[in-house]
């Protein structure tokens, strides 16, 4: 069973994602802050990470991404940015930092999210 880590601070959106992914049979770890997310990473074997950019606190999605990519253990985990920020510069930045993909939540349906995730996980 694949473990998916979701780092998302919006309750409603997070709920929707979690339910949808769970229905597909994945294990979902939902962290609402960066710290929580890191804890999960440490403790769990994560196969996939959904990463929101706008997060409370000082550490934002980019930072998490950077750290994840800098860490030998997590370097290879696919990281997909899930955000509603859509400026070119933001996308570029994420891709440069090593994001696997970048989705604008408002532009995709949950179905699409699932199918794309499956694609990334080669399922």
């Amino acid at each position: 069973m694949k473990n998916i880590l979701l780092i998302e601070d919006d309750k409603l959106l997070g709920e929707a994602i979690v339910q949808t992914i769970k229905n597909e049979g994945f294990d979902v770890f939902w962290s609402k802050t960066a710290e929580e997310g890191f804890k999960v990473l440490e403790l769990q074997a994560v196969d996939f990470i959904y990463l929101d950019i706008m997060l409370p606190g000082e550490v934002d999605g980019y930072e998490i991404l950077r750290r994840v990519r800098a860490d030998e253990r997590f370097k290879t985990i696919p990281v997909v940015m899930l955000t509603n920020l859509g400026q070119m510069s933001e996308i570029d930045r994420a891709m440069e930092l090593g994001a696997t993909d970048y989705f604008i939540k408002a532009n995709i349906d949950l179905d699409q999210l699932v199918s794309l995730t499956k694609q990334r996980l080669n399922i």
Binding site: D10, L13, L85, G86, Q87, I91, K105, A106, I108, Q119
Partner: protein, 790 residues
């Protein structure tokens, strides 16, 4: 009757004056001594004259005819010497008194054997004249027949008055005389002869001429003998000069005259008279020497010297004059008018004028022309002086050849003339030049004014960059800063650059790039919290690039703010939208724990669709805002088109399925990885394909075809949808435009998509077009150039 005592005048005379007393009348005296007599006084008995003639000086007393003359009483007996002389004379012997330089001879004049008087003669040797003897004899004549007596030359001595007188004359003559007989024997010899040769009577008398070897040197003797011969034959002999040594050992020059003595045409004998002319000769030679010296001087002088008398006869005509005129003295004297000959034509008058104008003691100088013997023309300066000597007038002239000088003068004159002409010409030329210059100056002034006006105009125009509040610079194609306005200062400070120096390398490269491509380029530079956007404009012909700065800081700031705002707003809007969309989706899927009925499903679908549309709107707004900020950042990167298209298709498949539309994709596998902007190109594909799906009814088809050509990728999105009405076709790419039929479809659409897609495709360097027929379908075609393929 005794002679009256001689009057006082007689006593006043020089005691050397001797008296001639003679039985002669004034008339007879006058006959012999003519103009040489000067009456002193007259008494009843006598008339007393003074006479002075050459060697003879004395007093002549003429008997008027009344009474007898008594000799003794006619003298002043206080003079003892005279008394002595008279006593001696009474012996009928002549008395000779030698008192150098004079010699006095007294001859007694006996009348009736009584001493009637005497002839006294004083002689100065140097003033001896040639015909002295002749004169003497003639003097003698009026004292009797002495002259005739002498010439008849009777051998025997007669005691007639005449013979005696002659004898005395002969004896006492100052010339040495030798009387020879017919046969050539010496008959008589006079005292002088004896003194001359230091011999006595005895030596001479009776000797033949040829025997006089002790006195005459052989050559002289020969001469005398020869003469004697000639005379015998009746030939006349001219006086000859000989030189010999006398008894005192002194060299003397003698003049020997041989005279034939004839009586009744019969040669009776010869008189040889010998005159000592040594003195004279010396004087002559001295004179000659002086003359010769004078001639030498005259000939050495570089002026022609002439001395002529008033008749024009030349006494002096020196060497130089000969050279000057080509004539010598004799030729000059032969000419009728030498002056006219050498100064012909117009020059004659000035030549004579010199002679006319000159005054004694003054020098008259004039200039004239000589034509010499060869006809050569010479310029001379003539100085003439008048001299007077012995009552005669002489003209002394000096001729100075000035030809060379004159010629030089004339040449100088000619040159001067030339110079003057040239000078005049130059003056003229100068005047012309001045005129031209004035003319030019006017023109120049005019032009200058025009130019100045232009300059002012240009300066005014040129002020714009200087007044521009933003940097305006000019850089040469090689990177040298040519101009920078004052607003550029801050920038130049950071560059450490100034006009004339090179700009920083980075800028120089940029300038060069712009210059070579000859295209404008925009470059942003941050400077002291300002962002200056420079437009670089190349000026190929001038080899420089102009840089026009624009402060875009505020713009940037505004843009930044806008972006941030948009970012924030889009985020803020998108989040709830996402919720709406997802929750409505969950409802539809039945995941929310509820199963919806048909109506509920429809309602929920509407909610979901609306939310989706709104998302689309937000997307479009974000795109538009990017476009409107002027910067659609097309950033190429190496990427794989097929992969992207596959993803897109995957994304859109659900939409297609929902609409009941078949979506097919065909991508040419030969398309290599190439450089394009994946984000933006993705948008194009997404836009076109989703449009195709949207506007195609159920069971319609949407095809995506991507082909590769030589240097492009051609993509086609074909649908069998509602198509675009002809009317609407021209506006389809216009922003916010939606064709009526699309509107009628009740599909939400912002109308932004196609305009964005067009912008992106064109930014990529490609083009977009479509074909469409209402109710049949639409095909959109666009191309992307292949750039930088691997």
């Amino acid at each position: 009757m005794p002679v009256d005592h001689l009057p006082n005048q007689f006593h006043d005379l020089d005691p050397l004056w001797e008296v001639i007393i003679g039985a002669t009348t004034p008339e007879q005296l006058a006959q012999n001594f003519g103009g040489h007599l000067q009456q002193i006084t007259q008494s009843k008995q006598v008339v007393i004259y003074r006479f002075d003639w050459q060697a003879l000086r004395g007093v002549a007393v003429a008997h008027t005819g009344e009474g007898n003359l008594n000799l003794g009483e006619s003298f002043d007996t206080s003079s003892s010497s005279v008394t002595d002389i008279i006593e001696r004379l009474k012996t009928s012997q002549p008395v000779v008194i030698n008192q150098p330089p004079t010699q006095r001879v007294y001859w007694p004049i006996p009348i009736n054997r009584a001493l009637a008087g005497f002839v006294a003669l004083e002689m100065v040797e140097s003033s001896l004249s040639d015909d002295f003897i002749g004169r003497l004899y003639r003097t003698m004549k009026f004292f009797g027949q002495a002259y005739e007596r002498l010439t008849s030359l009777k051998q025997h001595q007669s005691d007639s008055v005449d013979t005696h007188l002659l004898q005395l004359t002969f004896t006492s003559a100052n010339e040495g005389m030798l009387l020879l007989s017919q046969s050539g024997q010496v008959v008589d010899v006079n005292q002088r002869m004896l003194t001359l040769f230091g011999k006595d009577h005895g030596y001479f008398l009776g000797k033949k001429l040829s025997e006089l070897t002790e006195i005459f040197p052989p050559d002289c003797l020969q001469l005398l003998l020869r003469n004697f011969g000639f005379i015998k034959m009746g030939m006349a002999i001219t006086p000859q000069e000989v030189s010999l040594i006398d008894s005192a050992g002194v060299k003397r020059i003698l003049e020997i005259t041989s005279t034939s003595l004839t009586e009744n045409q019969i040669h009776q004998g010869e008189l040889i008279s010998i005159r000592d002319i040594t003195y004279r000769k010396t004087a002559e030679s001295q004179a000659q020497e002086s003359e010769s010296k004078l001639r030498q001087v005259l000939d050495s002088v570089k002026e022609g010297i002439t001395l002529s008398d008033s008749s024009g006869k030349f006494e002096i005509f020196n060497q130089e004059m000969q050279v000057l005129t080509g004539f010598d003295r004799d030729q000059a004297n032969e000419a009728t008018s030498f002056l006219e000959m050498i100064h012909p034509g117009p020059y004659t008058k000035p030549a004579y004028e010199a002679l006319n104008q000159v005054k004694p003691g003054e020098k008259y100088t004039s200039e004239n022309v000589i034509l010499d013997r060869e006809g050569k023309k010479k310029y001379v300066s003539v100085s003439t002086t008048m001299l007077q000597s012995e009552g005669k007038t002489y003209y002394l002239s000096a001729y100075h050849d000035q030809t060379a000088v004159r010629l030089a003068e004339e040449e100088l004159k000619a040159r001067n003339q030339q110079l003057e002409e040239t000078s005049a010409q130059l003056k003229q030329t100068a005047a012309q030049l001045l005129e031209a210059r004035d003319h030019l100056e006017d023109k120049v002034a005019q032009k200058t004014k025009e130019l100045q006006d232009k300059v002012i105009e240009i300066e005014n125009l040129a002020k714009f960059p200087s007044e521009d509040p933003f940097p305006v610079m000019r850089v040469s194609s090689e990177g040298t800063l040519l101009y920078a306005n004052s607003a550029s200062k801050a920038l130049l400070d950071t560059w450490g650059c100034e006009v004339g120096k090179s700009v920083p390398a980075g800028w120089a490269n940029l300038v060069q790039e712009v210059f070579e491509s000859n295209n404008r380029k925009i470059f942003e530079s941050e400077l002291l919290q300002q962002i200056i956007s420079f437009v670089l404009v190349p000026v190929k012909s001038r080899k420089y690039v102009n840089l026009y700065g624009r402060d875009v800081s505020r713009e940037k700031q505004v843009e930044e703010m806008k972006n941030q705002f948009i970012s924030m707003v889009s985020h803020q809007i998108r989040t709830p939208l996402t919720s709406i969309r997802w929750y409505s989706e969950m409802l539809l899927k039945g995941v929310a724990g509820v199963k919806l009925n048909q109506q509920q499903t429809k309602v929920t679908e509407t909610i979901h669709q609306t939310a989706t549309n709104m998302s689309g709107l937000v997307n479009d707004l974000l795109s538009i805002s990017r476009m409107e900020s002027g910067v659609l950042d097309y950033q190429s990167q190496q990427a794989n088109l097929k992969t992207m298209i596959d993803e897109i298709v995957t994304e859109l498949t659900p939409l297609a399925q929902k609409g009941g539309v078949t979506l097919t994709v065909e991508v040419d596998p030969a398309i290599p990885d190439f450089k394009f902007d994946p984000k933006l190109i993705r948008e194009v594909y997404t836009n076109l394909i989703s449009n195709a799906i949207k506007y195609t009814k159920k069971s319609g088809q949407v095809e995506v075809l991507v082909k590769l050509t030589e240097n492009q990728v051609i993509s086609q999105v074909k649908d069998t949808g509602i198509g675009i009405p002809l009317k609407a076709q021209k506006d389809i790419f216009t922003r916010f435009y939606r064709a009526q039929n699309a509107v009628d479809m009740q599909y939400e659409g912002t109308g932004l998509g196609l305009s964005v897609a067009k912008l992106i495709v064109e930014k990529a360097g490609g083009s977009i077009s479509f074909e469409s027929t209402e109710n049949i379908g639409t095909t959109f075609t666009f191309s992307i150039p292949l750039t930088n393929m691997l």
